[in-house]
Symmetry: D2
Subunit: 294 residues, 4 copies
């Protein structure tokens, strides 16, 4: 008989991830705040439940893939939270949240007899569907070992960052920051080229094939060169949340991050200008505007 996994959060990322679990032969109990968004999974074999608590079983595994820290904390320990129902089970937290939230959740689970494994992921929705996510883990070794087969069903590689609950989240936040920094730098370089009579795409193409021949520069280079920001792969408003988590973490650990801080202010401007629903690479629009381009 197949093991049952609880899965909370079936948005752009969570839905294809839950489907991969079904394909790998797991039984999946799904909770999503907006129930309608989980219907497609139900027709693929998932069972839909009414509250977060219902996805959990003693000694079971519950995965969360939600939009922010508050949503994770509420589904775990709010009204009808699944945390108290885990008894011996493991919360595999795959959302992008603050390391401090991870530490707090780990402590709460311990109080209730459950366990916490951080397993945030890198990859856009198409990578989630293709099982091409990179998964960073941290937490207690025994529990990471137990959830490993489940994670193997979701990604192309698992990289471990030790026992501290928040460590994997530091890496995830750092990665999002590196992506955003690369995006802004490309936006500045492409705009410089554009105003000097060189096509943005020619620049993206050159660097993506040579010095920066890697997934992020190739993908984001193309987005920024072609100014392709809609529909979003990852919403700018969530990107602002993430870069703000980076800076909160940096403040708590007394690490000035001048470029990160500059980027946060520019993401904030993008939101203020009504671009929160675009792809986060639309941070590049401000660079063009500041240069007097449309």
């Amino acid at each position: 008989m197949s093991e049952t996994i609880g899965f909370i959060g079936t948005g752009m990322m969570g839905e294809p991830m839950a489907r991969n679990l079904l394909r790998a032969g797991y039984a999946v109990k799904v909770y999503n705040r907006t129930r309608d968004k989980a219907r497609a999974l139900a027709s693929d074999g998932a069972s839909l439940v009414q509250t977060p608590a219902e996805v959990a079983a003693p000694n079971g595994i519950v995965i969360t893939m939600l939009a922010n820290d508050q949503a994770v904390e509420e589904t775990a320990f709010g009204a009808d939270g699944f945390g108290p129902a885990l008894r011996g089970g493991i919360h595999v937290s795959m959302s992008t949240i603050a390391p401090a939230t991870a530490e707090r959740l780990a402590a709460k689970h311990r109080e209730h007899g459950g366990r916490y494994v951080a397993a945030p992921v890198f990859g856009r929705p198409d990578a989630a569907a293709a099982k091409k996510l990179w998964i960073c883990t941290s937490g207690e070794r025994t529990f990471k070992e137990r959830v490993r087969p489940v994670l193997d069903a979701l990604g192309q590689g698992i990289i471990d960052f030790g026992e501290k609950p928040g460590a994997a989240n530091v890496i995830k936040l750092s990665g999002n920051y590196l992506i955003l920094a690369a995006t802004q730098a490309m936006a500045e370089a492409f705009t410089l080229a554009e105003k000097n009579g060189i096509a943005r795409t020619a620049v993206a193409d050159f660097f993506g094939k040579t010095l920066f021949a890697c997934p992020i520069y190739q993908a984001y280079g193309k987005f920024v060169a072609e100014e392709n920001y809609d529909p979003p792969r990852f919403r700018l408003a969530l990107g602002l949340k993430d870069i703000s988590l980076v800076l909160d973490t940096a403040k708590a650990s007394e690490v000035p991050m001048p470029v990160a801080s500059l980027l946060q202010q520019r993401m904030l401007s993008a939101v203020a200008k009504g671009r929160g629903h675009l792809d986060w690479s639309a941070i590049a629009l401000l660079v063009s505007e500041d240069a007097g381009l449309e």
Copy 2:
């Protein structure tokens, strides 16, 4: 009988480049301000001359690989400059200089009956030695075609950016800016990780194998993770020169570059603190210091 190439500037980059020309069967006439630095090339078969003018022959090719704009302009059109001696020949300018300087040189050569091809390169000294440079070109088509075999002897690929003399320089400067931006962003991320108990090298390793699996992040990630800044691969003082050329060009073309500008100020600080002789990736030291680390 083999064609003769004039070569001016046999520093860390120029020396292995000139050697590759010799290996490719060209006769090479070398001028270097500090004559002693060119001796090794002489024993490899190059002929050493006393003035820039002597490297040029009518209809010939002269390559410059020098530290800054002023050096290129002086060797071309200063006292004993080679420019007037080119008569029908081509100046292949491979140094990192301002697009505006390229335009000025191109115009001057035209006045004197010579031609100008911009051909700045990407790659550190070891890449120069291994013929692994990436060469960006711009200038008149006919002349780019004529110098192509010579460039083929120096790099792994030639990418063209059109007829404007300064275009290739815009790309070269943009590339150096992108490298510096990536370096600073990694320095911020690694320092955040370090102060959260995660090894810098673990972070560099992860990103270099996944999202940023490309030469620049792998090389500079390692430098910054291991704080390996001495001996320099590319001197920080020259890096400050380059990022300043980026900003000069951006100012002339009315393109605000907020991250580039922030990096310039930090490179300036590194020079003020006596680090101009280190590798330019030592911009990362300021990030550690600002976080209260040694």
Copy 3:
């Protein structure tokens, strides 16, 4: 018989303020977490109590002058908080706190039948002693009128910013930001002068007598010119708290503040370097260091 005022928080600012109330003829009930720090006031006639709740009387006035938002919220509505005891009375909140905290406190007081008046102040401890504070108010008109005589005993002027509970705090935070921005700008200018052979004090003196002949430039210009940061007039660690509140408020209201954000990162660096106990004008030290001085 004189009216009784409750006073919570007798630090560098609170102590001279409470003393001025005594001098103006008010009876003053004092609570301070560290009781010893309030002894001097006791010998001046104040009565010391053991809990925040004891300073309050129905329909009375309670002033808070504390280090941060959390301290204000705890003394008002934590264990033994004075809030529930106000019944019809007014909480005059004079600390530098977030506008959002002010709104929250105002709502809570309303629930408990009390009222909230924001009255943050500008001025260093010597100004507090000399009744030279500037007091910004916001809140319901009736209640502001009732507390006006009390505020008159503390400052040289009261400026009102309307009925929104948090408005005065926006002004207070803005003011602290303007001071910090002026300090950093002077630090940059003085360091430029210094490295060009001009005495820092000559520059401070000139601007303080001409274009910037006003209290802030004169005082902070002198601090920064003479590098006089110890003992602190206002601790740098508190300054970091304030500039962070500015940015939190700006983020909530979607206002990018690029200079404020840059300053926050530099204050964070000062704290990381162990300067949190110095005067906040010590933000200037980083400017000198970045220029290779010291």
Copy 4:
């Protein structure tokens, strides 16, 4: 018989200054590139000449009040320059130029037997008309003494910064930077207030009467609060030139100026957006735009 002063540059500042010299009883010989702009002065008694050289007389005094470094250098030592005609006379250079240009001019004058006194001014055109300029001087003592009566006819105070020809220019540039930094900081603070429901003018008014009760905050606070940028008092394009001179000087003396550098990029954006003709306080428009306001 009255002394004759040569005066070059009768723009918004130069015209009222030259008029004050006439009023003080000096004979004034005027050269302006656009001759028509000097007609009004002619009807006030000035004599108009056709070339810069004609304003000079041996042992005489020539004042320049021009838009940029290049204009000063050309009128002094270009074709028909007045420099060689000074023979023993003094060039009083009152424009805002780079300290390096001042040093270069001083050296050239010495070669030709003339002298150079730096005397840049603070004040807008209305202050020039009202003899309310602040004048900073540097240069050789003897020559500063000789020109003092002339300067007394132009300003409300003369402040000396020693013998180095460029010192007064460092102060002038620093002052313009301080003004711009204050303007940007106010723009950020006022926009924060605005989005929190507080009138911009109320904030400007409060600070202008209390902490920042000085000319710059009062004037620029009003401009920025009322968004009054046209007609310009000082053109933004010239402001960009000045902040760029600040940064050039800072780079040459190895002084990182992070706020100045951020402001330069924002001024550049303002120019790119077609605002070069507005008052330089229009740097504030970008703050409003970045916050999503019109």
